[in-house]
Assembly symmetry: C2
Homo-oligomer: 493 residues x 2
């Protein structure tokens, strides 16, 4: 894409002043609509050393209300950041509706600069670029406007600028040996940048290569892109969304067959004495395994879903009993907060992705989207339709990073649920466990059953299959969960 | 405190089983009350290497619902963490009401281990311990229960344990050269620990030194402390709080006199032409200064408070115009979220403390507590009474860390506000700026004036004085704010 940029473009003073004045005025007005319509906006600046990222970004934000944006300067990941999937630190910085996240360098150095400086291999770079495309598509589908600028200058221009900066004692400190090293390898970077631009130039998040020899012309172009992009994003928000066609799809990921809920036999039990013995044995194994996880820096993500009163809490408790408390965390998922609702729905789960070597246990999870949110109408039909693919993509990202992804569905039948509800209601110490909502959900049993069947069908992937935990007998369920946990990890190690 | 611990205490099997069984049962029941009454609980474990912190913590949490707590393993601060005040990373981990934050090591290694390992000097250690006491007192005053365990073993016992761990190939990896180094310097650590325990043993957050030669006896004691502490914290919650006596106080910090609002002359103006000229000059100076801030790693915290329509937004905009966008951030403060309300009120401001070398500009701030929250009854009289001291302590902490703390009060008179409100209402592009709430607040002008006068009187400290910005003429106000900003920083540099 770089060879197409017309680096000779210039703009003379009055022409620039008039055009920019008009565009700035438009942008100043548009930002109120951005706020009012709760449009989330990402603006990112990439480009050559000395191309003027810092100064153009500084210029741009003068037009914006300082309360409406946050500027993120992205540095190479720290040790701590390297312990999470590479998109983690970027995901958590995505803006909520009505706000701008402005990036001075973004996720792109990790697939461009890194190819020259850290010898990142092409295959891995392309995998990461695919992940970036998915990331940007998920945000865009949720309504985020993504504006990507690449500031382009020629090798000769770069030399001129670096020399000029070095010559002035006030600016000399800005030019580092690394800048000169990058200057020398211009051609290598050119290839890396160009491949990156080509591969991540998508309809939902296109690149704008800005010819930056002339700052005036570059700024005018930046303002023009800002104004037209925001305008069309706001216009798109006004149009009624198209109803999704056909059934939801898994997104082309390899699926594993799971039984329908009604076909699952629930008559397994285990003798209480035998249970104690087996539990002790398995927990010992678990403790050893946790040590190995820690030493091999393998992350584990566990999802617990299941009917109300299926025994999630007690099951989790037995599982964590032998884990080192410094290496796991239980994440209870309740209704989303206002801030969480203002972000793409996976944002709040990304925030909880564990460090490598750690275990995160989700007590309820992102699957809420295809169950309660879908049934209660807390998300749109479009959101629901997209969710299966998005979830599979999310879990694939975790898997590719090295995580073991384990998902449990705790199954009981309707009669058993009633027995347990009644028991909770009649036992004083258990009354806090039962609410009116539980009874209301129970009335929608059939709807939930359909939703769960579809969920099992579309999200049981080879890399993150569902395990059914028959939970009519709690003891059986606990043993099975621990066993499945152990074997999933052993398979990966 | 260490010499008082009876290290010979032991417990034989059945005795331990019976006592612990009863205490565990009590704790299991109490945790529901903790949740229901929204009691925030901090439990922290400190002690000697090989004293058993990890295993006792693991044991303790088995009794708790895994959804109700989070375990934090505290390591020495990372590079990134060192760029903020030392309490920052601990403040942001304090629990919300109804939850437990359990610390495997906490803020204490930074004032104990560090004295031996990083040659932290006594004077600095004592200053930090005072900060810790303030931190714990503020949390405790807000209702947080703080339970601190120190696991104590003798030098001989430590040797025995380290040898035993080293001898077994499964556990040998747990013993690091650092453990042996620490073992050798037992006496030095003893002194450091003992000073720490003495100085931070407070009525609101007492230490519990646990004699840990016998794990059974130690665990029983831990359970006993947990149960009695939680019981008395819950009982204290039931009692109606005492009404504060006397007037609020500044907390003994050196105060600077500020004028009463009614005594502030507001007739200053500046000629528009002269304004342009001066603004340009000052902004140039500001840009240079920002470079120096960055290079000297000096953090700056700016607070903007003032009447509605006093011109905060426009003033901030002129101030940031010449700052490098990668080095500052505007933090708009609105009504607190549910999560924020469930924490001590300074928690949400601690989260926004900038990195060193950065500027954080608060558009409204923690002073909301002594203005709107006080007047509208969003906080109790007790909360209000304590707030002045707490705020002064907070700002002192920032100052001691090296920050320049700058606070602006933008003053206009009641007639000018009316003119601006009307102007906003009549100008279509400005209508979004005015709400019914602004009119309602205006009706309480006199109450606000009293509150502001008291605020200026009690929180204008020598290290963080208020600057009155006469804002009847917006141009004058902008120049004065920039000037005050520059001179406050120059004074510190």
């Amino acid at each position: 894409m770089l060879e197409k940029a017309d680096l000779k473009k210039t703009m003379i003073g009055p022409e620039f002043k008039q055009l920019c004045g008009r565009l700035k005025g438009e942008l100043a007005v548009l930002q109120h609509a951005v706020k009012e319509k709760r449009l989330p906006v990402i603006v990112l600046f990439e480009g050559w050393s000395a191309a003027g990222k810092g100064s153009m970004l500084a210029d741009l934000i003068l037009t914006l209300d300082p309360r409406s944006f946050k500027v993120y300067s992205t540095l190479p990941p720290t040790e701590e950041e390297r312990r999470r999937p590479f998109l983690y630190r970027h995901w958590i910085r995505t803006p909520e509706g009505g706000r701008f996240s402005i990036f001075d360098r973004s996720w792109y150095p990790e697939v461009s600069l890194a190819r020259v400086e850290e010898k990142l291999r092409a295959k891995e770079a392309y995998r990461m670029m695919d992940s970036i495309n998915t990331f940007e598509r998920q945000l865009s589908d949720d309504g985020t406007l993504i504006i990507k600028f690449f500031l382009h200058i020629s090798h000769k221009e770069q030399e001129k600028r670096l020399k000029k900066l070095s010559a002035d004692k006030d600016t000399a400190w800005r030019v580092t040996p690394r800048d000169w090293k990058r200057y020398k390898l211009y051609d290598e970077y050119y290839t890396a940048f160009d491949e990156m631009l080509e591969h991540t130039d998508t309809p939902y998040a296109p690149w704008h290569v800005i010819a930056s020899h002339d700052k005036g012309a570059a700024m005018a172009e930046i303002y023009r892109v800002m104004v037209t992009s925001i305008k069309s994003a706001l216009a798109a928000k006004e149009k009624p969304p198209l109803l999704p066609e056909g059934s939801p799809e898994a997104g082309g990921f390899p699926l594993v067959r799971t039984p329908k809920l009604s076909d699952i036999p629930l008559d397994m039990t285990v003798d209480p004495e035998r249970y104690k013995e087996l539990l002790k044995k398995k927990q010992k194994k678990l403790a050893e395994l946790h040590n190995r996880l820690y030493r091999t820096r393998t992350p584990v993500v566990v999802v617990y879903e299941g009917w109300d009163a299926a025994g999630k809490g007690g099951n989790i408790r037995r599982l964590v009993k032998s884990l080192d408390p410094r290496g796991y965390e239980v994440v209870p998922i309740a209704a989303p907060s206002k801030t969480e609702l203002a972000h793409q729905y996976l944002w709040r789960f990304w925030k909880e992705v564990p460090k490598d070597g750690h275990v995160a246990i989700f007590d309820r999870s992102w699957y809420g989207r295809v169950m309660v949110e879908h049934i209660e109408g807390f998300c749109t039909p479009q959101d629901y339709h997209r969710a299966f693919r998005e979830i599979n993509e999310f879990e694939k990202e975790l898997y590719d990073w090295g995580a073991v992804v384990i998902k449990f569905w705790l199954q009981i039948d309707k009669e058993e649920q009633l027995r347990r509800f009644k028991d909770r209601q009649e036992t004083p110490e258990k009354q806090w466990k039962i609410t009116d909502e539980d009874w209301r959900n129970r009335e929608k049993w059939d709807q939930y059953e359909d939703a769960v069947n579809r969920m099992l069908e579309l999200t049981s992937t080879e890399y993150a299959p569902w395990t059914i935990i028959e939970s009519q007998d709690k003891r059986f369920a606990r043993l099975k969960a621990i066993e499945a946990f152990i074997s999933a990890i052993q398979k990966r190690l």
